[in-house]
Amino acid sequence: MNCPCVRCLQVFVLFAFILIGVACPVTATPPLNVYVVNYPLKYFAERIGGDDVKVTLPVPADVDPVYWTPSIADIAAYQQADLILINGAGYAKWINTVSLPRSKTVDTSRGFKDKYITVKETTTHSHGAEGEHAHEGLAFTTWLDLTLAANQAQAVAEALSRKRPQQKNQFIANYQSLEKDLLALDSRIKALATSNNTVPIIFSHPVYEYFEIAYGLDGKSVHWEPGETPMPSQIAELKKIHATHQVNWMIWEGAPTQSARNVLETMGIQSAVFDPCGNTPTEGDFLTVMQQNVANLDPIFR
């Protein structure tokens, strides 16, 4: 029983196991390589996927992801991703100019196609680096209805779970936390807006369709850019609208120039920012930007 040979063998085996354990640690699964088409989806995927995902939005921060023109290398990177999350509803026009692998691509708004909003505007105009373009077809800023944003987040959670079934419980728990945040924002906007939703509003750009319908707002849109001084034709268009749609507030995508504020103030119109947050914000994240947006709405409906 106390044979030294047996004891030596036992010690040897024990050390061998320890050495094997040290030399060969359990191989960590690399994070899923996820490519997205806008910032809300990046935020959702990162909140849900945590350390199990590496999410890339290759669109430069100063470019609207809707009208971004990718390079060949950008598309090659999308094609090599484990998962491609698209917004759907006609968002990211470049999707129609490339081949994305269908098996890896998930349309996060597909589940509520019946809620897509068709817009009839067909005029073309130009701003920023993307040049002349038109707002027509489907409205695409789906996530500005925060309940639809929650639906898109759920589609993200399901897509990640299909890719990493072993992480499903974690993804679902993270999604539920995100959903709670999104629905809390939704409730706050509803509480604000429904108390006084007959307030007429002007939107600086036609990107608030889902927001307008979800919260029962009385809005009309123009084409004013936050960083630009309005042209006489734009002012004339606004005056025409103002004649029948007596507004006190214009909601902007970003802070307007002082000259634009001055023009509006002569018409008795104040400015408030509700940033759609389509691209990565310079400060904070999707949630903090939306929280600030809701705070900015407060004086409109008070």
């Binding site: 390079s71 060949i72 090659a76 090599q80 026009k93 067909t122 073309t124 077809g137």
Partner: protein
């Protein structure tokens, strides 16, 4: 009368030729694919129409213009499959600011070559 008739005839022809240019942006589309040793290009407009005039510009992965060719009256074009290692951005310009592009990555080209 005769010169006027000629001018009228030419104007009518030009109108017919550019008649399919869309009145609104974003409705022109272009698609390209590999077939044999060529890249085929097809331009489309809504309702099954196609433009009859246009320039086809082919850029490589470094955005260098590789070649420029014309769209044929049937709305198609083609060019030899050469120097494709960095992929192609194929731009169709039918004038009046109406442009569309299609991207063929090296992966697309390899897949399509392998599939033949």
């Amino acid at each position: 009368m005769r010169p006027l008739s000629i001018v009228f005839g030419i104007s009518l022809l030009v109108l017919i030729l550019i008649g399919s240019i869309p009145s609104i942006a974003h409705q022109l589309s272009v698609f390209a694919w590999v077939e044999g040793n060529s890249v085929l290009v097809e331009a489309c407009l809504p309702k099954g129409k196609h433009p009859k005039l246009g320039d086809v510009l082919v850029y490589d992965g470094e955005d260098q213009l590789l070649l420029k060719t014309r769209l044929l009256p049937d709305g198609t074009s083609s060019f030899p499959l050469e120097n494709w290692e960095t992929g192609f951005r194929i731009v169709l310009d039918i004038g009046h600011g109406h442009r569309a592009y299609w991207i063929l990555t090296p992966y697309d080209i390899q897949q399509q070559r392998d599939g033949q």
